[in-house]
């Protein structure tokens, strides 16, 4: 009995893992994900955008010389009057006109774009002019030692967030940026896997039904064994993929990241690991980034997350795959499946919507209940876990999920048993209900 499920699982597993598409996606995807994570850094480092030359017609007499050229904007004052400048200087990105009455009239700034206008250019110009005008006004107040006063009163806020664990003296560090990113990633991974692998089960059932191979198989194994074998076989492929990804990503984090990151950050990370509070790290290391990196390189934490990910993926997958298998068994082709699979897709889509609100408030009632309801719990719970939630919640949610799976798989197998031998008209939901009650 058991070995028959084993034979089915082995076939499903071997047929899928040997496919070229599996090998390619398994290896390419993590590289792609890493590339995506580092893309913003790389882009800002290496590209920086084109230099934009701005011709300045300055009637105020003092602003143009105070404007600072940066990587993106280069200001060049011109003696031409505005009308002429607009006609002659068409090879500039834009012509900036600063009126004489700038200090009293906020509308006396005009930007004539030769190219498509750009919000970032506009904001850059406005910020610079504002601060020049503001400085001029401050100076006119005739305050002594103004530069020192300004420097001493400058405020720079850098929020520190900690997890408040009762009974623990040293508060465990908790980066909300890292949690948010991780929460997104985990929620989406689960969403992707449930959908992709769930639909894979459905398509494979339809294919077996279409190729009429099903009746041959069910003369040797019970429909329930066949369905479970297929679900477990596909699940093992998915789990293999998750494990390979986890290994590849951690390999990249441990061996490649140290080569790529600046020494300063590496030193800071080492100091934190030796017990120096992150707030006291010298040098201008960005704290959010430091904390995110620390979270990523905490093996125990990441390992724990991967284990919970596997538990919730497995439970959620079993649940949804059983439903997808039932739908697949009751239709003859993927087109007919569209309508019947809608009720199954709904909770998955709801989960993703709830997940977005969970990221704002992981302890809200909505977050709590949706992480307990078995159909939404896999995705919503995974999105909550990076924020650190009580273990009992995770355990209860997992138990409810697996218990529901048993009920659902029982009902689904009843539909499956009848459906695989039915050909022709697409059944209605009412008929599916009838099938469940056949002897």
């Amino acid at each position: 009995m058991k070995s028959k499920i084993g034979i089915i699982i082995r076939r499903e597993f071997n047929e899928r893992v040997k496919k070229k598409s599996f090998i390619i996606t398994t290896i390419i995807t993590p590289l792609f994900m890493i590339a995506l994570m580092f893309a913003p850094v790389l882009i800002s480092t290496y590209s920086g955008g084109d230099t934009k030359r701005i011709a300045v017609v300055d009637e105020s007499g003092y602003i143009a010389e105070e404007l600072i050229n940066n990587g993106e904007l280069v200001f060049e004052e011109t003696a031409l009057p505005l009308e002429l400048a607009r006609k002659e200087l068409s090879d500039y990105f834009a012509i900036l006109y600063i009126g004489e009455d700038i200090e009293v009239n906020p509308n006396s700034i005009q930007i004539y774009n030769n190219d498509a206008s750009s919000i970032s250019v506009e904001q850059g110009i406005v910020m610079q002019i504002s601060s020049v005008v503001q400085n001029k006004k401050l100076q006119e107040q005739n305050i002594e030692n103004l530069p020192q006063i300004l420097e001493e009163t400058a405020v720079h806020i850098n929020p520190q967030s900690f997890k408040n664990t009762a009974g623990k003296v040293d508060a465990e560090e908790n980066s909300s940026i890292a949690s948010t990113v991780l929460s997104y990633i985990l929620g989406f991974i689960l969403y992707m896997f449930l959908l992709i692998y769930g639909v894979m089960v459905m398509q494979s059932v339809i294919e077996e039904k279409n190729s009429r191979v099903l009746e041959v198989i069910v003369s040797s194994v019970s429909p329930f064994q066949l369905m479970m074998g297929k679900i477990l076989g596909v699940a093992s492929v998915a789990i293999l993929q998750i494990i390979i990804w986890a290994l590849l990503i951690s390999g990249l984090v441990y061996f490649v990241l140290p080569e790529v990151l600046p020494d300063q950050i590496l030193e800071a990370m080492a100091m934190v690991k030796q017990g120096v509070p992150p707030t006291e790290i010298p040098g201008g290391t960005e704290l959010g980034m430091l904390q995110a990196l620390l979270v990523l390189s905490d093996i125990g934490y990441i390992g724990g997350i991967i284990v919970t990910l596997l538990i919730f993926f497995f439970g959620g997958f079993l649940l949804y795959a059983a439903l997808f298998a039932a739908v697949g068994s009751s239709v003859d082709n993927p087109q007919d499946a569209q309508q019947l699979q809608t009720p199954i897709m709904m909770p998955i889509i709801v989960s993703i919507m709830v997940m977005l609100s969970v990221i704002n408030d992981p302890t809200s009632d909505v977050a709590f209940w949706f992480s307990m309801i078995p159909f939404t719990s896999p995705i919503v719970m995974m999105a909550r876990i990076p924020y650190g939630i009580p273990t009992w919640e995770i355990v209860v949610s997992a138990v409810v999920l697996y218990a529901t799976f048993l009920v659902v798989v029982y009902g689904a197998s009843k539909i499956y048993r009848v459906g695989i031998l039915m050909h022709g008209k697409k059944p209605s939901l009412k008929e599916l209900w009838k099938w469940m009650r056949y002897k």
Partner: protein, 306 residues
């Protein structure tokens, strides 16, 4: 000894009854034909024997005991809608099916090589099914059905879709499997194949068993005392000689001078008198009883004229 006994099996679907109180005994070592028009319930009965579906009432006995999940190892089933995994390689696929029937991988591989050699298809081992022609795929399907040397073979419409050459090959294989001791059930509405291969039949119509028994017995039992006389001579003479002794149903004459008369005799003991009377009037070349074909019996039974 009966290998399979089906006792009072009833099976209903939502809107119709597929089998209504059907009982059949299938003797061990026989080739058993299950006949009936489309939709009569043949496939449902075969699925019940295979434990693919459960009967609402009644039971199936295998060697006198109610059939169990283990017994399916002793059954080979080829459904009417035949199918293989299209993208799987032929050899791997055949091994997969053999394993499901309880064979070890090694054992299955050895036996498969033998069958592939017998059918001359060794070079298909690593080909995908999708690359095979329909006839080729059917050979593979047949091999996977019989590979584990089951005691009971069930073929649902085995000859449908086979070309004449492969159908003949299949027929010979079925007979040789019977000679090796297997019991074979097949459903069909191809009557000539029934007369050629079947020992016993059951005729199912409108969900009920309306006729069961040994093929020869049935044919003779339903003989209608119709005889044909081939003769040389004048039709008028034989007609007047037989006048009053029997009913003349039909007469034919052929250009080469051989005439045929079809007659119906009321009782067996009048046969000798009729032969004598006819012999005196014309030159008899042959005198034979018209035993109905299974086709006639099938049509008469289904139309309720049996």
């Amino acid at each position: 000894m009966d290998l399979i006994r089906i006792e009072n099996v009833t099976k209903s679907y939502a809107k119709h009854t597929a089998l209504d109180d059907v009982s059949i005994a299938i003797p061990e070592g026989s080739i058993y034909g299950l006949l009936g028009p489309n939709g009569a319930g043949k496939t449902t009965l075969l699925r019940i024997i295979n434990r693919i579906i459960a009967p609402d009432k009644g039971k199936v006995l295998f060697r006198g005991k109610e059939i169990t999940a283990e017994d399916v190892y002793r059954i080979g089933y080829m459904p009417e809608e035949r199918g293989l995994y299209k993208k799987m390689k032929v050899g791997e696929q055949a091994i997969f099916f053999a394993q499901l029937k309880g064979m070890s991988r090694k054992d299955a591989t050895e036996k498969l090589k033998g069958w592939f050699a017998k059918f001359g298809i060794e070079e298909w081992w690593n080909r995908k099914v999708v690359d095979l022609s329909k006839g080729m795929a059917q050979k593979v399907q047949f091999i996977t059905t019989v590979l584990h040397e089951p005691q009971l073979l069930i073929f649902d419409e085995p000859f449908s879709g086979f070309d004449p050459i492969n159908a003949n090959l299949l027929k010979e294989e079925i007979l040789s499997l019977r000679d090796k001791g297997a019991t074979i059930i097949f459903s069909t509405h191809n009557m000539s194949s029934v007369e050629e291969v079947c020992d016993h039949i059951t005729l199912i119509d409108k969900s009920r068993n309306i006729l069961s028994g040994n093929v020869n017995e049935i044919r003779h039992r339903h003989g209608a005392n119709i005889f044909e006389i081939d003769y040389r001579g004048e039709e008028q003479k034989i007609r007047s000689a037989l006048d009053g002794k029997c009913e003349i149903m039909d007469s034919n004459s052929s250009p080469i001078g051989l005439n045929t008369l079809k007659i119906h005799i009321a009782a067996d003991d009048e046969v000798r008198g009729i032969i004598t009377a006819a012999n005196e009037s014309v030159e008899i070349r042959s005198f034979r009883e018209m035993i109905p074909t299974m086709n006639d019996i099938f049509i008469r039974a289904v139309n309720g004229n049996l």
